[in-house]
């Protein structure tokens, strides 16, 4: 994907990352956690222009859950209200590989699942390992169940890991990678680094842009201009403006959809996203 795709007015896929697993309502009380809240938030995001929903599961206390049944309840809450492409997370700092597989085992399986391309640090003592063995193992289960991986690229080294995965496994076209920018082990957030990352993608790969916190708005806007797709939502950014908490995931999606339209790219509807992604 490139600037030419922007000039050609290719539709933009907006992914809504509703809840995540790092922070909860202590960071923003509008962040959805229960299956009911997540289902409603997903419906509002579809209305606002999202085509894909990225899902994590929570316990009643708001803490992370890797329970298959909890993912089942969430996916049903979303599917009963929307036509969105359902994407489950397989991320999980500190969680076992077995726990992280559970989100792939819903009935039906998610159409997509995230696949972290390598390690990243959390807090002072935690690392999300994502060894090549774990990546291959999660990928193999996705392939068995017909789930398309979204390759999560937290830094430029992970672009090498994408190429390594493509050497080891036979991924269906188009390869879809999310380029992530923020602090810590993620790529430093800057326009130049987003440009560099897009130039290091494998031939023919599509990309999605994800910026944490205040980098969400500028970098996703740039992603739109570079012909890519974008991800927004309370998982990655709890603010709408400086010191202003976002009211909802849909508020963030609506702003992005409006920007895309202003810049000449219509948001893709869920079925159009399925076509673009080869689902």
């Amino acid at each position: 994907m490139a600037y030419d795709d922007y000039l050609d007015g290719e539709k933009v896929i907006i992914t809504a990352a509703l809840t995540g697993g790092v922070h909860g309502k202590e960071a923003n009380p509008n962040l959805p956690e229960t299956p009911e809240e997540i289902g409603k938030a997903a419906a509002a995001c579809e209305e606002a222009g999202a085509a894909v929903v990225h899902l994590h599961a929570r316990r009643d206390s708001g803490e992370r859950s890797f329970d298959r049944d909890r993912f089942q309840a969430i996916t049903e809450a979303v599917r009963s209200r929307t036509n969105l492409v359902v994407q489950h997370s397989t991320g999980g700092t500190g969680a076992t590989l077995e726990a992280r597989r559970q989100s792939l085992r819903t009935d039906p399986p998610p159409e997509m699942a995230s696949l972290d391309m390598g390690p990243l640090n959390r807090y002072r003592h935690l690392t999300s390992e994502n060894t090549r063995g774990m990546v291959d193992s999660l990928y193999d289960e996705m392939a068995d169940r017909g789930i398309k991986p979204e390759l999560e690229v937290f830094n430029d080294g992970h672009l090498n890991e994408v190429r390594g995965l493509l050497d080891r496994r036979d991924l269906a076209d188009p390869v879809y990678a999310t380029l992530i920018f923020g602090g810590g082990t993620t790529s430093p957030p800057s326009p130049r680094n987003l440009l560099n990352a897009t130039e290091n993608l494998p031939e023919g790969a599509l990309f999605n842009t994800l910026g944490f916190g205040r980098h969400q708005l500028p970098l996703t806007t740039m992603g739109i201009l570079l012909g890519g797709h974008v991800r927004v939502g309370l998982e990655d950014n709890v603010y709408y403006g400086p010191n202003e908490l976002a009211e909802s995931n849909a508020q963030l999606v609506a702003r992005t959809a409006g920007l895309a339209e202003t810049l000449g790219r219509e948001p893709a509807a869920p079925d159009e996203a399925r076509e673009i992604l080869g689902l």
Binding site: G24, E26, S61, G94, T96, R122, H125
Partner: protein, 79 residues
């Protein structure tokens, strides 16, 4: 056998935070050492889930618990 951190308790969100939704009655992880609600990911450490351990994996616990007995500070002990 997993244990939980002695600094962990469960409280209603909303009493201590301006942004809390007072209608949400589900108790949430609260850290008495940091005197704040705990993020979802860190709550696994507080509860010693998935092989995580509050003593080994939480810097807040380590700071609150102080240096191990016999160690007086960073300068103590040679190599």
């Amino acid at each position: 056998m997993p244990d939980v951190c002695p600094y962990l308790e469960y409280r209603q969100l909303g009493d201590e935070t301006q942004s809390g939704d007072a209608t949400d009655s589900r108790p949430r992880a609260y850290c008495n050492a940091a005197e704040e609600f705990v993020q979802a990911m860190r709550a696994d450490v507080c509860n010693d889930r998935y092989g995580l351990d509050h003593e080994a994996d939480c810097e807040i616990f380590r700071e609150a618990a102080g240096p191990p007995e016999g160690v007086e500070g960073e300068g103590a002990g040679g190599d």
